[in-house]
C-alpha cells in the first residue's frame, strides 16, 4: 500500500488548501493554494498543474505565479469544473498534481529585451514569466508588456497592470480594450493592431505571446512583419488534457505532447509541427 501522504504516483493528486480568492474580472478568479508544509511543489514560469475539485473533475491550468508560500492560479469560468471552482470559498481543499510541461526558457532569455503580448486570460501564464523577470530584474533588458481584453472589466490583474508594473525600472506597459467605453481613456483596438502601432524593435528582443487562438495567429503575423525571426517568438499552446504526463494521448500535436513537451514552443518549433493548433 503506497504512502498516501508521500506517494509518488504522478496521476494521484496531493491535497492543498485554498487560502485566498481574488476576483479579477466578472469571470476570472485567482486562487491561492498551499499546504501546511508550504507550497506543494516548485514550478517554473509557464509550467502547468492539474487542479481537481473532488468530486467534480480535474483541469489543467497554468500556474500564474509561485509565491514563497503559495501557488496562484488565475482561472476563467468556462466549463463545468471552472464553474464549480468559482463557487468555492477560502478553506476549500483541492487536489493538485504537477508540475507539468516545460515552462518558459527563462535562462535562454537572459540578457534580452522582453516583449510580452497577452490577450484575455492569456496574461495568466505570461504573468509568471513577467514577475520572474521582475524578480531577476538585472538579468533582463527592457521589458514591454502589451495586454488587451474585451472590456475594462475583463482586464486581469488590474492592480499590477496599472500601478505596480509601470513602476518597474525600464518597463513599459500598454493596455488596450476591444471597444470604446465610458470612463476608459486608454487605447482602444485589437492587440495585433496595437502591436503594429507600438512597432517594437526585434533587435535583441524575445516576444512571448499568449491569448485566444485568433489573436495569437494575427500577433504572429504582425511580429513576422516587424522582422522577428521564428526563434525570437515564443508562445504557449493549449489542448484538452487528462493525464498531464504524456500518456493519455489527446494533447498531441504531431509527435509532441503539449502537457509534456509544451506548452511553451518557439515559433520555429511550431512550424515543424502539423498546423493543428
Amino acid at each position: 500500500m503506497p504512502d498516501l501522504d508521500r506517494h509518488t504516483n504522478p496521476l494521484v493528486p496531493t491535497m492543498v488548501k485554498v487560502v485566498k480568492i481574488i476576483e479579477e474580472t466578472p469571470d476570472v478568479k485567482t486562487f491561492y493554494v498551499t499546504t501546511d508544509e508550504g507550497i506543494p511543489f516548485k514550478v517554473m514560469p509557464g509550467q502547468l498543474a492539474m487542479v481537481s475539485q473532488l468530486p467534480v473533475g480535474e483541469g489543467m491550468f497554468s500556474v500564474s505565479w509561485q509565491a514563497e508560500d503559495h501557488l496562484q492560479f488565475a482561472i476563467k469560468r468556462v466549463g463545468l469544473l471552472t464553474e464549480a471552482l468559482h463557487e468555492i470559498e477560502p478553506g476549500q481543499t483541492l487536489g493538485i498534481r504537477g508540475p507539468y510541461g516545460n515552462g518558459f526558457p527563462v535562462d535562454e532569455c537572459k540578457g534580452k529585451d522582453m516583449l510580452f503580448i497577452g490577450g484575455g486570460i492569456g496574461l495568466a501564464p505570461l504573468r509568471s514569466f513577467i514577475k520572474y523577470c521582475f524578480a531577476h530584474r538585472e538579468d533582463y533588458g527592457k521589458i514591454t508588456i502589451l495586454y488587451g481584453a474585451r472590456s475594462y472589466a475583463d482586464l486581469c490583474f488590474k492592480k499590477e497592470l496599472f500601478e505596480e508594473w509601470p513602476q518597474v525600472p525600464n518597463c513599459e506597459v500598454f493596455v488596450t480594450i476591444d471597444n470604446p467605453e465610458e470612463g476608459w481613456d486608454g487605447h482602444v483596438g485589437f492587440v495585433p493592431a496595437y502591436l503594429e502601432e507600438i512597432n517594437p524593435s526585434p533587435q535583441g528582443t524575445i516576444a512571448v505571446t499568449c491569448g485566444p487562438p485568433i489573436m495569437i495567429k494575427f500577433v504572429l503575423q504582425a511580429l513576422e512583419k516587424m522582422g522577428f525571426t521564428d526563434d525570437q517568438v515564443i508562445t504557449t499552446l493549449e489542448m484538452r488534457m487528462k493525464c498531464g504526463i504524456g500518456k493519455c494521448g489527446r494533447c498531441n500535436i504531431g509527435s509532441e505532447f503539449i502537457c509534456l513537451d509544451g506548452p511553451v514552443f518557439t515559433l520555429a518549433q511550431l512550424k515543424k509541427l502539423p498546423p493543428e493548433w
Binding site: 493528486p13 473532488l54 473533475g57 487536489g95 484538452r240 487528462k242 494521448g249 509534456l260
Partner: protein, 336 residues
Amino acid sequence: MKVLPADKIREALNILAGEAEVYAPLVRGDVSGYIKWTDGPGDELALDILNTYMPPKHIVMPQTENMYKFIATGKDAQVTEIVTAEGPRIIFGIRGCDLQALHALDLAFLTRGYEDEFYKARRQDLAVIARACYQPGPACFCESMGVDRLNPEADVVIHVLGEQGLAWEPKTPKGKDITAKLQGILVDKEVALPQAADMKVKVDITGLSEKLAGMFEHPVWDELSSRCMNCGVCTYVCPTCYCFDIQVHNRGEAGNRFRCWDSCMYKEYTQMAGGHNPREFKKERFRQRFLHKLQYFNERYGANLCIGCGRCIIMCPNEVNILEIINKLKEVQVDA
C-alpha cells in the same frame, strides 16, 4: 523438447491459475478475447482460431480501471486509497503481433518522462507464454510491421502441435519458473515443429513515416476518410491503441476516480471547455489515428503503433482497411 500433452492443457492452466491470474484465448459466446481463466462453463479454450477478436491490452490497461478513492465532505477532501493492482499475471497463448503491441505499450507508458504507475503495477509481474504463429490469416501483415511471429520474445514459447499438444520452450528465468510448476505434466519427447506458412499480405513501409511528415495537409485524407463513420471499433479492438480518459464516479461524499479507454475517433476527445476543438471534423480525427500509428509514434518512440494483426480490418463495419490506406498513402505524390 518439452511437450504439454493436449489432454493436460486444462490441468496446466488450472495449476498456473492457482498462483497467478491467467489470461488465455477463450471464446465466450459471440466474442473471443484473452479472458481470465477460471475453467468455467461456457468458456472454450481457443487454440484453433487464428486470434481473438478482443486484444490482450486490457490485462495491462483494463477498459475501466480505478485509480484512487476519495472522500469529499464540505470543504474537506482527501484521497483515501490508491488502487494499484499488483500481483502475478500470466498471459497464455499470445501471438507475436499482440506481444509486440505490448512492447509498444511499454514504450508509451514506461518511457519518455513519467512512468505510469498503474500500468507498471500490472506489467511488472507479468509473465508471457507466447505462441509461435505458423499459419497467418488473410488479413495478417505482422511481418511487414517488424514482428517475429515464429520466435516471439517471451518467457515461454509454445508451438501448437494439434493432437500432440504443445511444444513447450522456456526462454527466460521467469519462464523456467513457470515450467518448473508444470514439472509433473510436461513430458520430454522428440517432436517435429509445424511447417510455417508464408504470409500472403506484405506491405513495405520503409520511409512511410518520413513521407507522412510532409502529408498532413494533403487532400488524400478527404478521400481516405470518406468511408469512415467515426465510431471507435478500430481503436478498441486495436492491441496498441492506448488513449484513455480520466473520469470520476461518486455517490454522496465518497467516490473514485477511474480511467477508461478513450478514442481519438470521438469529437469529445479533444473538445475543450472553452468551445474550441482542434479536431472538430471526421477527417481530422481519422488523420490523427493513422498518423499516430504510422508517423507520430515512430518519431517519438522509434516503433510502429500498428503490429499488423488485422483486427481493425476485420471488425470495421464500413470496411476501412489500413492496408489499403497504407498503399494509397504510398502512392500519392507529394509536392516537394
